[in-house]
């Protein structure tokens, strides 16, 4: 694994704090990371139930537990990145290169980096209904930035593709400026997005909506 400096925002005092961007996370590492994240998810689930929050309003990745999938993760060929701050994994991303080609009309059939998985640590989720504000902000943006960087490194000019969970559609559409390709019947109708080189350039230089 290699590490480079990045920054995130600590919500408690709104300070910009130093973090490490880790390159070289392996799919099998997800299982280990999940051993720390899973108990926090369980606490969130208990609070949601106690507050009678409707299941439709629960974080849609609340039930993910990759520690149960360690065998399958070991067989997965993917690259990975993560953000460490304050000694903990604050977010993780897995990507595949050259396994997917673009569907976007202007980029059709050109290779892209497919983002297979992105998630932030559950203690970073702001959940108003149970008073959770989240510890660090901007972690997801740092990871997507790195997906675009990885695409540039691979010679794919910033092209990325991903299937967003319904609750994350707004982030990839409005905030990151990705193009909605359509719902994918092969992935439980998740909305599939792609990023053009122009959109990547804008995101990397300016960021998303103000």
């Amino acid at each position: 694994m290699s590490s480079s400096p990045v920054v995130v925002i600590r919500r408690a005092d709104n300070a910009v704090v130093q973090a490490e961007l880790i390159d070289g996370v392996q799919p099998r590492d997800l299982g280990l990371i999940e051993r720390v994240w899973t108990p926090v998810r369980a606490q969130i689930l208990a609070k949601l139930r106690a507050a009678s929050v409707a299941p439709v309003d629960w974080p849609q990745s609340l039930r993910w537990d990759w520690s149960r999938k360690e065998g399958e993760l070991k067989l997965l060929e993917a690259g990975g990145f993560g953000v460490i701050c304050d000694g903990d994994w604050q977010g993780v991303m897995l990507t595949k290169s050259a396994s997917h080609v673009a569907l976007l009309a202007s980029q059709r059939s050109k290779p892209l980096v497919y983002v297979d998985y992105v998630e932030t640590a559950p203690w970073n989720w702001p959940i108003a209904a149970i008073g959770e504000q989240g510890r660090y902000r901007g972690v997801g943006s740092v990871l997507i930035r790195e997906a675009m960087n990885e695409s540039i490194r691979q010679g794919f000019k910033g092209r990325i593709g991903l299937h967003a969970l319904p609750q994350a559609e707004r982030f990839y559409d409005s905030v990151c400026g990705l193009t909605e390709i359509g719902r994918d019947p092969n992935k439980q109708n998740l909305l599939y997005f792609e990023c053009s080189p122009e959109a990547a350039e804008k995101f990397l230089d300016e960021g998303g909506e103000s």
Partner: protein, 162 residues
């Protein structure tokens, strides 16, 4: 374009992105979760809530009180109240009665209520979309009205005559 990789984010960039992220419920990507069978299956856990929201919004859209809807659908007021609170799963008879009043397909409404498996992909999608877009607020906002009308359209179309 022969762009080089971007330098580490600036303070301005991360502040702008963190603010924008705050307006989003999640950033989670689900490709791997689908491949490994981790996506939430079906809608049965959500069913009472989705059904409750549909019922509440549809009733309010018609400017009906619970009493009036209960009378028109020949359903007990207490049962209707419990259904709108998401406390109970409706009986098949109640779903049938309500489908008649709301003018939607009985089999689809049974599926939304969690009393039948949802095999229709377009209905699954419409249900998730509706659940994500509607809030149980007192006033029917335009987005809620749009969400309701879009959902009802799916429930009505390709009617099975049931």
């Amino acid at each position: 374009m022969n762009r080089k990789t971007a330098a580490p984010p600036t303070e301005r960039w991360i502040r702008r992105m963190a603010d924008a992220e705050d307006g989003c419920a999640s950033i989670a990507v689900g490709g791997l979760a689908y491949d490994l069978g981790m996506l939430t299956p079906g809608n049965h856990e959500n069913a009472p809530w989705v059904f409750a929201r549909l019922l509440t919004l549809a009733r309010r859209r018609r400017e009906m009180t619970i009493d009036a809807l209960a009378k028109e659908a020949d359903v007990d007021v207490a049962e209707l109240l419990a259904l709108e609170n998401g406390d109970v799963t409706p009986t098949p008879r109640t779903v049938y009665q309500l489908a008649q009043v709301l003018g939607v397909s009985t089999s689809k409404l049974l599926a939304v209520a969690g009393l039948a498996d949802v095999e229709d992909e377009s209905l699954k999608e419409a249900t998730l979309r509706f659940a994500a877009r509607s809030e149980p607020t007192t006033k029917l906002s335009k987005p809620e009205r749009d969400a309701l009308e879009e959902f009802v359209k799916v429930l009505v179309e390709k009617s099975d005559g049931g």
